[in-house]
């Protein structure tokens, strides 16, 4: 296989994974933008939401199997409900130093991890793709068709999010950024409801991301931290709080990671992700797309 074809293959694969990272990054950025808070449990919510969805998809707890579509929705909605619950839980802290909520989400994250361990066991599961996934050959480049499902679903979700943010009352209220929170409150926008919506949507996006990537990885309760970090890296690259940036950052990171993993073993690509995060933060904390919402005061 020629070098160019290999690169093309990696790019396609990278874009697929990148879509997933984009969804995770969107969740981070949305919550940050609305509440000024980094949701530490984003990765853990991803993992938990994935398991919830998979329970229906694969009949994991003896609940019977459902269609992938229903399972997908179930995972997202249930996870979104958890998100709402989290906002409610941490509401009394919303006016204090946000670090408390951050630490609280750390606690929640570790609880989610181990509750999942308890319910579904710590051994991983292999998730079958919802469609026949034989590799097809497009002009010499080998691609698994499932990637297109991932991309299509991501596009749908992003468009849906965009419509939600621009066309609905909820969405417009959300767009008041964390800095203008006081002004938003002055206009009668219920801040707590906005936070709950942000958390719910963020959690839902995480679940969607996890469910989409599930057939491509070995699913176990430990995937939350690793995917969460990568989603965070993507969000930072695009500028935390910047929604289009999150998408671009996710795609970019997906492609970079896939290309590099062709040369180095996978555990070390994780290492590179974390180091990349550090470097980006030192060199250009506002992300590659410039300072829009992040201001170092």
């Amino acid at each position: 296989m020629t070098g160019l074809l290999l690169v093309a293959q990696n790019i396609v694969g990278g874009l697929g994974i990148g879509c997933v990272y984009a969804l995770i990054a969107l969740g981070f950025s949305l919550i940050y933008r609305t509440m000024g808070l980094v949701n530490f449990a984003q990765g853990n919510l991803l993992m938990f939401g994935t398991y919830l969805g998979l329970t229906f998809y694969m009949g994991l707890l003896g609940l019977g199997k459902f269609s992938p579509f229903i399972a997908f929705l179930a995972g997202i909605i249930l996870c979104g409900l958890i998100g709402i619950g989290l906002e409610r839980l941490f509401r009394p802290l919303a006016n204090l130093d946000l670090s408390y909520i951050l630490v609280g989400t750390i606690g929640i994250g570790i609880m989610l991890d181990n509750i999942a361990n308890h319910i579904w066991g710590s051994e991983g599961i292999v998730v079958p793709a919802p469609i026949a996934n034989n590799e097809i050959n497009v002009g010499g480049v080998r691609i698994s068709p499932y990637i297109f499902i991932v991309m299509a679903m991501t596009v749908l979700l992003v468009i849906g999010l965009q419509l939600f943010l621009t066309r609905t009352n909820f969405g417009r209220g959300l767009r008041a950024s964390a800095q203008d929170r006081e002004i938003a409150a002055c206009f009668g926008i219920p801040v707590n409801t906005m936070n709950a919506v942000a958390f719910a949507v963020g959690a839902g996006l995480a679940a969607a991301a996890g469910l989409l990537i599930a057939p491509m990885i070995y699913v176990n309760p430990a995937i939350g931290d690793s995917l969460g970090i990568k989603g965070f890296v993507a969000a930072i690259i695009g500028g935390l709080g910047d929604l289009p940036g999150a998408v671009i950052g996710g795609l970019l990171f997906g492609v970079i990671e896939t290309v590099i993993s062709g040369y180095i073993s996978s555990s070390y690509t994780d290492l590179i992700a974390y180091l990349l995060l550090t470097v980006v933060l030192i060199v250009r904390p506002e992300g590659l797309l410039g300072a829009r919402t992040v201001e170092k005061v």
């Binding site: 950024s177 800095q179 203008d180 201001e295 005061v297």
Partner: protein, 261 residues
């Protein structure tokens, strides 16, 4: 009035998302003067202070302090360059006494350069101890000037409002600034306290300090300022002596409907 400006604001612009808080603001503060910055609520005065003191980065324009461009510098470096400020809503250190608040301020003076790594208490404890004792003496002297010496060990935020304001001014002065930014220093003070404040300012300027002051109390502004800049909706609408400004039609229009005295 022909001395070169100590602080020169040049075409300063600051945006927050869709809101332009400051638009092309330009004015100059001359050394040894008390310069007033006035305007209706929301006109951008405190934002102006925040940009000068380094809390915000400007989106356009420059700020030059004593020949050095300070716009874009981080806040702590601006303080060390000689600009101190107080805050509209008081930002005293809650868990500290009056004396400790001022001690922190002393650390920010050019002479009180903090050691980056706290070696001294371990490697040369006697030196650290001596330096601390010296700072305390200086701090007490400063408190004395503001009649706060007997309140030195009181938790700063348990004092009555007027005294807290004094503590904040003392703390700002501890950094040995050449320019002092005061954000509504007379807010919430009664007439007696305001008069004392006036005398304090005059005294300080006589000793070489320059003051830039945001205020709503027009009597104080007109009485003590040598120069006044008026902001309205982020733009400068007047800039001159108090007499010129108070009869400026734009200024009157901006304040229409407002009784400020």
């Amino acid at each position: 009035m022909t001395a070169p400006a100590l602080l020169s604001i040049q075409s300063l612009t600051k945006r927050f998302g869709g809101v332009t808080a400051l638009q092309d603001v330009s004015f100059a503060v001359r050394p040894g003067t008390i310069h007033g910055l006035i305007g209706p609520n929301g006109s951008g005065k405190t934002t102006n202070f925040n940009v000068i003191s380094g809390m915000y980065r400007p989106d356009g324009g420059k700020i030059i302090f004593d020949g050095v461009t300070i716009s874009g510098m981080p806040a702590h470096r601006i303080t060390r360059s000689g600009i101190a400020r107080t805050f509209q809503n008081l930002r005293l250190f809650k868990t500290m006494s009056v004396l400790e608040n001022v001690l922190v301020g002393l650390g920010g003076s050019p002479r009180g350069r903090d050691t980056i790594f706290p070696w001294d208490p371990y490697l040369r404890p006697w030196r650290a101890h001596a330096a601390e004792a010296h700072m305390r003496t200086e701090a007490m002297a400063l408190l004395d000037r503001f009649q706060l010496a007997d309140l030195a060990d009181v938790p700063a935020t348990s004092l009555p409002y007027g005294k807290q304001r004094r503590v904040e001014i003392a703390r700002a002065l501890a950094t040995q600034p050449r320019l002092l930014l005061l954000d509504e220093p007379a807010a919430g003070l009664n007439a007696e306290e305001t008069r004392e404040l006036e005398e304090t300012f005059i005294r300080l300027v006589a000793e070489g300090l320059t003051i830039l002051m945001i205020e709503h109390d027009m009597r104080l502004v007109m009485g003590v300022c040598q120069w006044v800049t008026v902001l309205d909706q982020g733009k400068v609408i007047a800039d001159g002596t108090p007499e010129v400004v108070r009869s400026n039609e734009h200024v009157l229009a901006a304040y229409l409907g407002r009784e400020d005295d």
